[in-house]
Subunit: 404 residues, 2 copies
Amino acid sequence: MGSTERIRNVAQRVAKWHGAGHQVIVVPSAMSGETNRLLGLAKEISSQPSPRELDMLASTGEQVSVALLAMALQALGKDAVSYAGWQVPVLTDSSHTKARIRSIESSRVQRDLDAGKIVIITGFQGIDEHGNITTLGRGGSDTSAVAVAAAMKAQECLIYTDVDGVYTTDPRVVPEARRLNTVTFEEMLEMASLGSKVLQIRSVEFAGNYRMPTRVLSSLTDPLIPLEEEARSGTLISFEEDTKMEQATITGIAFSRDEAKITVMGVPDRPGIAYQILGPVALANIEVDMIIQNQSVEGRTDFTFTVPRGDYARALETLDSSVKAHIGAANIIGDTKVSKVSVVGVGMRSHVGIASQMFRTLSEEGINIQMISTSEIKISVLIDEKYMELAVRALHKAFGLETA
Amino acid sequence: MGSTERIRNVAQRVAKWHGAGHQVIVVPSAMSGETNRLLGLAKEISSQPSPRELDMLASTGEQVSVALLAMALQALGKDAVSYAGWQVPVLTDSSHTKARIRSIESSRVQRDLDAGKIVIITGFQGIDEHGNITTLGRGGSDTSAVAVAAAMKAQECLIYTDVDGVYTTDPRVVPEARRLNTVTFEEMLEMASLGSKVLQIRSVEFAGNYRMPTRVLSSLTDPLIPLEEEARSGTLISFEEDTKMEQATITGIAFSRDEAKITVMGVPDRPGIAYQILGPVALANIEVDMIIQNQSVEGRTDFTFTVPRGDYARALETLDSSVKAHIGAANIIGDTKVSKVSVVGVGMRSHVGIASQMFRTLSEEGINIQMISTSEIKISVLIDEKYMELAVRALHKAFGLETA
């Protein structure tokens, strides 16, 4: 949410849904810039603020939003009540600054809904079993919204963002990118995890786990456009493959610029070695994405994996301190100038030749492929970051996505 | 607390006390300007924001402070943990924006203290029995501090403010005003309730109820001045009258500019009438201060009382809507241009003639007295607000306070 003007807009939109007879729960994010302002204060105080206190600090941003939105709705004559995560409560684990939701208690909220109230719940935050405030990390408000929708058995979860839906790829990279009316949950999961910034990956996981139909739509439209029109706008993440209107082979091109690659060289080729390398990395709360282990030569092999670029230094440190000597690796090298590009689509399942078309397209552009990883509905390649935009544009065109 | 620079200063001061072997609990206020900023946002949204949502909003200011102070202490190598009021919990009644503390649970905090931690608790706020966030109203952080000190059976409660102690009167009105080394609890209560802005009245009440020695001292001194010096600075509110060093008859001159006077005219002179008038006013949560009922003439009398000027309009409205017709009053008139001036001192008990000296002084300055009220240790008069400064200066001089 932006300024108070923006909050009033949100209130009008919410009041419109409520006025049409819907029970409505709203999970607003912090006001624009507020979370950064708070984290900036922390930075002024300490170079390494404690995660618990960061959560205590950052969670206030959403609390301000819910209170103001409740006031704005009340000013429109609506009965509205706001809750912080701990008041619902939204129970999470204790991983401060990146907590995971465990459960959401629905009774208090349901009572309010049944009494005709609009309920407003802070996104991004919860409470752990020891009564500490936790936050879900950046983008956590989306996750909260989907989790609340699931807990309350909502009909649909509407995520209002600054984009008007999910596109075949990022329109800033490919101007011809096209908005999708629907994507399947699996496609959305791949798109989100591969760097489409529309929705946070965990919110998509929640939507999937609870089969919660979730619509991504624009918060920038006139809040008073007809409800029917708004209800059909954006992109619906659906759970019925056969209702999918667009049967293109490939749904979209996802990418993630900020990747880093780490290779542990000269690793003894014996059972358990992958776990010995990645176990400590996982323990350090670093997400590992692509993993490759080459064919061994003379009992030794190279083990390569990617991590988010922001975690690169920490991952290297972890390996140096607790892995390298232990497993007898020869050397550890890395590269932070790599990006990932993926083609995604459920249609891929029934079509051969997607991979070869992808590789041919990249080859024609002179782009070298450093790593490859595949799933049932996506193929990802790691390439030099300076070719990323070129690769995305070429693939978007090669798979005919601008006209599908 | 002001900027993050200020927070670091506070941390240094706290670390100094902790380093000297004290168990320390800190109750910081919001950062300077933050509460006003938040209430300003509310005002942009709604002209009559709901008190519950105001509390939800305003309470975030102190939560930001405690988190930042904890980080600042950690950066100094101290083990520190912050709690919001609801986490302690600080239980209050449900009077949003002006709640009263009912009890404070000490076990969690004590456990942390015993483990060597510095505990930081949000001032100004608590939680009611329904799990709603409440706030204590402006200045509530002082009250929280004293209440926490009492609940934790602290040795002394130190209130750091932007003044360096309690003065014989406001130095901005009388430059010759003198800082007091000690005041008795009763004097402080009168000084606070009569408008000396040093401490909020409720914090003094708490100090009194729990006989908690409370020291008012400056937050603007160098945080690294020797502990012994700091421990003797400011003004101690004491509970031992005979330890009082200064045995002046009068301790100080208090005043309150923002008073308003309401007269209900032509009230039938019968039992229960005062309650019928003031009951609804109290129910509207308006504090009534001075009360006068004149001798009745022909079975009718005039009933006059004062309220804080900010509550004047609401008090009049309450009387018009639910009192006037009911009791058959002839008319209701009011005056918002009145102020209260009081002389305060425990020495007054054993000295006659204080009242006459006060009245003579005012008379010599040509100041008309509109109402008089007295207690064992104070005499208050209501006068035209334009004479307030003159009255305070004249009385300060007449009672020899600049040299006592």
